[in-house]
Assembly symmetry: C2
């Protein structure tokens, strides 16, 4: 039996009108389709860059790493907000977050080729703000760390729900 | 007459083996091809997102904004380092920078459609480190600000020059 609290990728539970994000929206045919899940009290996603996601030959483009941290951060924020309310991700009303600030420290060059593991740790959950600390690893080696301050989707960005 | 100190996009002067970056490399056929130039003591680039660079419908994906800040930051760092040495961008030895840390504050939702203007201000130039403050604007409205700490390309990332 599927347990919506744990098994589904957070992004798969977004309402359709909120699932067009280039980084993680299931409805964006051009996008990266990052999918994040719980792993105990942490969140995790894996992503294999394309051969053209190059910084210098052989290494992953930093903007892609920032994008993975960004989307895994807002997805983790949403999941943490649902968990704090004891609700299944995707249940109404939707709890969708956007990034207020993003910080990335590139610790070492990230090899291009192997899948990358993105991990999130929930640092703070308030009603309208969630803070997530993140890391991006290739194999056992952490190549970048980051921090996302996510805030509830402002009304000015919210698309109308389907009629 | 072309003045290499001012007229060329910084990224167009990178040696071929250093121009494969997804965000700004002229040799990456899949990439964004950001092109940055001097504008007095500031640096500037313009970029028009694709319709699929969506966060929520109608708004630009934050990971793309972070990518523009990242690449304009490292490009500006390279140009500032050349300028500090009184040399034309692209002259040997190449001064190529990578990002050590990236910070982005998303001030307001960025409308998807109009060209975006990315501006950089050089805050600090040392031999191996350049700090750049940046902004991303749609029309007259600044939508995001950022800061890039760029460091000289480490030997471990440098591809061999062509034989």
């Amino acid at each position: 039996m599927t347990d919506l609290l744990t098994d589904h990728a957070f992004q798969d539970t977004y309402p359709e009108e909120l699932s067009h994000c280039y980084g993680c929206g299931s409805s964006n045919p051009h996008g990266l389709h990052l999918r994040s899940t719980w792993d105990g009290d942490e969140t995790v996603a894996t992503f294999t860059p394309q051969p053209y996601h190059t910084a210098l030959p052989g290494f992953v483009y930093g903007g892609l790493i920032a994008s993975l941290i960004d989307c895994h951060g807002t997805g983790s924020a949403s999941a943490a907000a649902y968990r704090a309310e004891g609700r299944a991700p995707g249940s109404d009303p939707a709890l969708r977050f956007v990034t207020a600030s993003l910080h990335v420290d590139f610790l070492r060059p990230t090899p291009l080729g192997p899948p990358l593991t993105v991990r999130g740790r929930i640092e703070e959950v308030k009603e309208r703000k969630v803070v997530v600390s993140l890391s991006v690893a290739a194999g056992d080696q952490i190549c970048a760390t980051g921090r996302v301050v996510a805030v509830r989707l402002p009304a000015s960005m919210a698309p109308p729900p389907p009629a």
